[in-house]
């Protein structure tokens, strides 16, 4: 546990190292999640549009 705390402390630079990794993670995750959501939404919109056109 001690060594894990040491790892988290990053030799006193934890307030720089971890935010850097955190921000990178969030930005990279958004680039995956957003296109997946857009694709789902687009397919839903197209299906709805064609259904209305048929009626």
């Amino acid at each position: 546990m001690n060594s894990f705390n040491e790892f988290l402390a990053m030799g006193g630079y934890s307030m720089y190292v971890w935010p850097a990794y955190g921000i990178a993670f969030v930005v990279l995750l958004l680039n995956i999640v957003l296109p997946l959501m857009q694709r789902k939404q687009l397919i839903r919109d197209l299906a709805l549009k064609w259904k209305q056109n048929k009626q």
């Binding site: 850097a20 990178a24 299906a47």
Partner: protein, 254 residues
């Protein structure tokens, strides 16, 4: 034509067709994800845990494992975007246009990450979050180029016209790429010089170099994954009136 092998030519023609490209993306995406996870996990473990502490910078240097790969990718993605934009301009290849515009948000993200992590690294090492030196300023201009390309494309209704416009803008902006790379040599900057990509041997310890190269390769695969996901949406938007998209939508709603 004879200098290009026939299978390669067939592959090229198939890839030029949107439904084939769409299916191809679906097929290779799982593989890219698996390779990316393996590279990223081993790179992070080696970089954050196994690699030794730097004798000058302490553990703050560990930001290098995202900062440098992100900065490399910010240039790499830009070059890919400009080249595919040029291919789209010259040969009117739809897929090249799709790859160009789909690369822009990912390139912008890598640039943003490089700038933010650089700032978080600069504060403890240089004593400042930001300085208007050549490397940082040219990288900031790169971010504006990406954002300009994204908003220009968004502002033009017709996608083909939009693609032509952004390809030209991307090609003009290529001039910034060597400026970023050589800025640390041409100007007297606060940013350190190259330690890996230089003519001489890399001046970085092998235990630090290996995780760096692992992360750089992981980021390449990440780019492949994210770009294909954006490209799939872009293809659906462009081809929404075609039969194969109608079939795909119907199958998705069954």
């Amino acid at each position: 034509m004879s200098i290009i092998p026939a299978p390669l030519l067939r592959f090229y023609h198939r890839m030029a067709s949107p439904p084939h490209f769409y299916n191809f993306a679906d097929k290779i995406l799982p593989w890219l994800v698996v390779i990316f996870i393996l590279l990223a996990v081993s790179g992070l473990y080696m970089g954050l845990y196994l690699a030794p502490t730097d004798y000058q910078q302490g553990d703050s240097y560990r930001i290098i494992y995202i900062h440098v790969p992100a900065a490399w990718m910010s240039l790499f993605v830009y070059v890919v975007m400009a080249i595919s934009g040029a291919i789209g301009l010259i040969w009117r290849l739809k897929i090249a246009d799709v790859v160009a515009i789909s690369s822009a948000p990912i390139g912008a993200s890598f640039t943003l990450i490089a700038l933010v992590t650089g700032s978080l690294w600069g504060k403890p090492m240089w004593g400042t979050w930001w300085v208007w030196d050549a490397r940082l300023t040219s990288e900031l201009i790169l971010l504006f180029l990406y954002l300009g390309i994204i908003s220009l494309y968004g502002a033009i209704e017709d996608k083909r016209t939009g693609s032509r416009a952004i390809s030209i803008l991307a090609l003009v902006g290529v001039v910034n790429i060597p400026i970023i790379h050589y800025s640390v040599e041409w100007w007297n900057t606060l940013h350190q010089g190259a330690t890996v990509a230089k003519m001489d041997k890399p001046s970085i310890h092998i235990d630090m170099l290996i995780p760096l190269l692992l992360m750089a390769t992981a980021f390449k695969f990440y780019y492949g994954i994210a770009m294909l996901l954006v490209a799939k949406v872009e293809i659906l938007k462009r081809e929404k009136n075609s039969q194969w998209v109608q079939k795909l939508v119907e199958e998705a709603n069954e």
